[in-house]
């Protein structure tokens, strides 16, 4: 019994992370009908953003609540900005093109982030370049050398995983005779629920939300009605990316290893969760995330754990074959 309860706790903890990321997917898909492949990597950037802010603030040596708040805010700001830039530079120019073009671009952005972050730091790259130039007999002017030496030595972080300092102190409770829960699990759950409620309010009770729904229904007509479509889409992206950033910090805090490809799998799984719950639906993303987290946990814990990643894909295929619109999705009929 304890084992089952522990699995439930683990699965919920996992599921809330998927839910937070899935919320971003679902919102973007709702307005743009685009699978933002790069979303998982925005999540990864969020983790690193938190890492850099925390390093700058010296969180590891002297953690305080104020610093933790700053880390969260800083990471959220950076991911929001990243989301805005990606949309503006990579997706907006392709709005009129076939969706496939945008999907390919999304994959390109995803790889760019993943592999870009795996490059050695700018300072090391510059040093290599300098060495190569010297080797070919090209004189490197002193001012250039000095400039190279001033480049960041920690960015890009490179492929080696890094240790993420705890933003707030971990407290473990043992309840119900042997089930271990930590405050991180509780906070993740509360944050996810909180954001879901907030998002639902935004989508259904604010002007911005109404505009979002209008754009997702028919962007052209919404534009004709005077809705600033570009701004709405940008805002949606920023919102989704901020959520990814929050998810990243919660994960990095409790599972303190970050590396440039940490976003690939969670991104794919969150997409599955969003599809399962009904892509475009906020409560659907939440339910989908929890369902996937619990499902994965149960299968890995009780049957073979080597097929853990396969579960998500199996679920995806099943959903798309049986009920492609997901749990909460609307059935759309294609009209010609």
């Amino acid at each position: 019994m304890t084992e089952l309860l522990q699995h439930l706790v683990n699965g919920t903890s996992l599921g809330t992370i998927y839910a937070l990321i899935a919320l971003g997917y679902t919102m973007v898909y709702g307005v743009l009908k685009l699978i933002n492949f790069a979303h998982g990597d925005v999540y990864m950037v969020g983790a690193f953003a938190g890492y850099y802010v925390a390093s700058a603030l010296g969180v590891q040596e002297r953690p305080t609540l104020g610093k933790a708040v700053l880390v969260f805010v800083g990471a959220m700001a950076i991911t929001g900005l990243l989301g805005f830039l990606i949309e503006r530079l990579a997706y907006r120019p392709l709005r009129a093109r076939p969706r496939l073009t945008a999907l390919i671009t999304a994959i390109g952005v995803s790889f760019l982030l993943e592999y870009g972050f795996q490059l050695p730091s700018f300072r090391t790259q510059a040093a290599n370049l300098e060495g190569a130039l010297r080797g070919w007999g090209v004189a490197v002017p002193a001012w250039l050398s000095a400039l190279f030496a001033r480049l960041p030595a920690e960015f890009p972080p490179g492929p080696t995983p890094r240790f993420f300092p705890e933003p707030f102190e971990r407290v473990d409770w043992t309840v119900l005779g042997g089930v271990h829960v930590s405050n991180y699990d509780v906070v993740s759950l509360l944050v996810a629920i909180g954001f879901m409620v907030a998002l639902q309010l935004i989508v259904f009770r604010t002007r911005f939300g109404t505009a979002m729904r209008a754009v997702s229904f028919d962007a052209r007509t919404a534009g004709l009605m005077g809705i600033p479509v570009n701004r709405i889409i940008s805002g949606t992206f920023v919102l989704g990316s901020v959520l990814a950033g929050v998810a990243a910090l919660l994960v990095a805090g409790s599972r303190p290893r970050i590396d440039p490809i940490m976003g690939l799998m969670p991104g794919l799984k969150a997409f599955v969760a969003a599809v399962f719950g009904g892509i475009g639906s906020v409560p659907g993303a939440m339910v989908g995330g929890l369902a996937l987290g619990l499902g994965e946990e149960m299968v890995a814990g009780y049957t073979s754990s080597s097929f853990r990643d396969g579960i998500a894909f199996a679920m995806l295929i099943l959903v798309l074959l049986v009920r492609p619109e997901g749990l909460f999705g609307r059935v759309t009929v294609e009209k010609v």
Binding site: A90, L103, G108, L112, S304, I317, L321
Partner: protein, 329 residues
């Protein structure tokens, strides 16, 4: 056209290619050989993926999985029959027959895998199809990793080095001939119709799902051929060689060359393979360059180098060119 004439015309590309390949094989040093074989394998992959992504306009990003199926099948057969010699044949010919059989079996099983993946997936459109093919690709890889009989994570090693320039070149010719024939045929026209406007094609009575599945199966079979050839050159077959990243590398080639253009796929595969070799010192930037290439390409010239046109359409008619009005020879 008489039966004999047809046979001659079909075999012509192979017969023409054979002496050229033979000469290349005899004169090429070992490091050039390995580059040429890599090139050939990439061309086969790009052209075969083009059949699905380009002709049929379906976005499949799990191609590496079919490569894996073909590779593992061929590997299991050659390793099992390593010491066996067919009675009455000298050793080399016996090996060649075994290799041909292994490749054929690889293609067959890859085709079956294509069928299994295609039937459920090809009901879906666009983004969803892409995700499902990605999912299937990963599932196949996970299954291979967990199967002891296939070597699990270690894979199969000690494969006999059967792949040569001649074999690879013949594979390339076979793939290109297949693609060209397909494009010019009724079946090909159906695929192109599906690509241009699936709903209209359906309305015109084209069995869209059926044709899409067939294209998928053919594409998978030739991916299996590429896989079999590749692993018998480097003599090892591991699951990590067939990841999603590998699939995307092939997608980049197809997109760069132009989805729907066979010559585009060939040129793009060649350019990218050679660029990789030339820029060995910049290995760590390779994927970054690939991704930037994808993004810039999509933003500026999404139809790729050749779009849907072919380089050989510029040739005179008797060599297979097509007039500007699109009439086939």
């Amino acid at each position: 056209m008489t039966r004999g004439g047809f046979l001659l015309r079909s075999l012509a590309p192979f017969l023409v290619a054979l002496p050229i390949l033979w000469l290349a094989q005899r004169s090429a040093p070992a490091d050039v050989t390995i580059v040429l074989i890599s090139l050939g394998v990439n061309v086969i992959l790009a052209v075969s993926l083009n059949v699905v992504n380009g002709f049929a306009g379906q976005f499949s990003i799990g191609h590496a999985a079919f490569m894996a199926v073909g590779a593992y099948t061929a590997a299991e057969i050659t390793v099992a029959l390593r010491e066996v010699q067919i009675a009455g044949l000298p050793v080399e010919m016996s090996d060649a027959v075994v290799f041909a059989a292994a490749l054929g079996a690889g293609m067959l099983l890859a085709a079956v895998a294509g069928l299994i993946v295609g039937v459920p997936s090809l009901r879906l459109r666009g983004d969803y199809l892409a995700m499902v093919t990605l999912g299937f690709g990963e599932i196949i890889r996970v299954v291979i990793e967990n199967t002891k009989f296939l070597g699990g994570a270690t894979g199969i090693s000690g494969l006999p080095p059967y792949t040569t320039i001649v074999w690879t070149g013949l594979g390339v010719v076979a793939t290109v001939v297949m693609a060209r024939r397909l494009e010019a045929s009724t079946q090909g026209r159906a695929l192109l119709a599906i690509r241009e406007d699936e709903v209209a094609a359906e309305a015109m009575g084209v069995d869209t799902v059926g044709w899409k599945v067939r294209a998928f199966v053919i594409s998978a079979a030739f991916a299996g051929l590429a896989g079999g050839l590749l692993v018998h050159k480097i003599q090892i077959c591991t699951p990590r060689m067939f990841t999603f990243v590998k699939s995307m590398e092939v997608v980049v080639m197809v997109v760069l060359g132009g989805m729907g253009s066979i010559s585009g796929s060939i040129v793009a595969a060649t350019v990218l393979t050679l660029a990789l070799e030339w820029l060995r010192g910049l290995d760590q930037y390779r994927m970054v360059i690939y991704s930037l290439l994808l993004i810039v390409l999509m933003l500026t010239r999404p139809e790729g180098l050749f779009g849907t046109r072919e380089a050989w359409d510029l040739l005179p008619r008797w060599l297979g060119g097509r007039r500007a009005d699109g009439r086939a020879p």
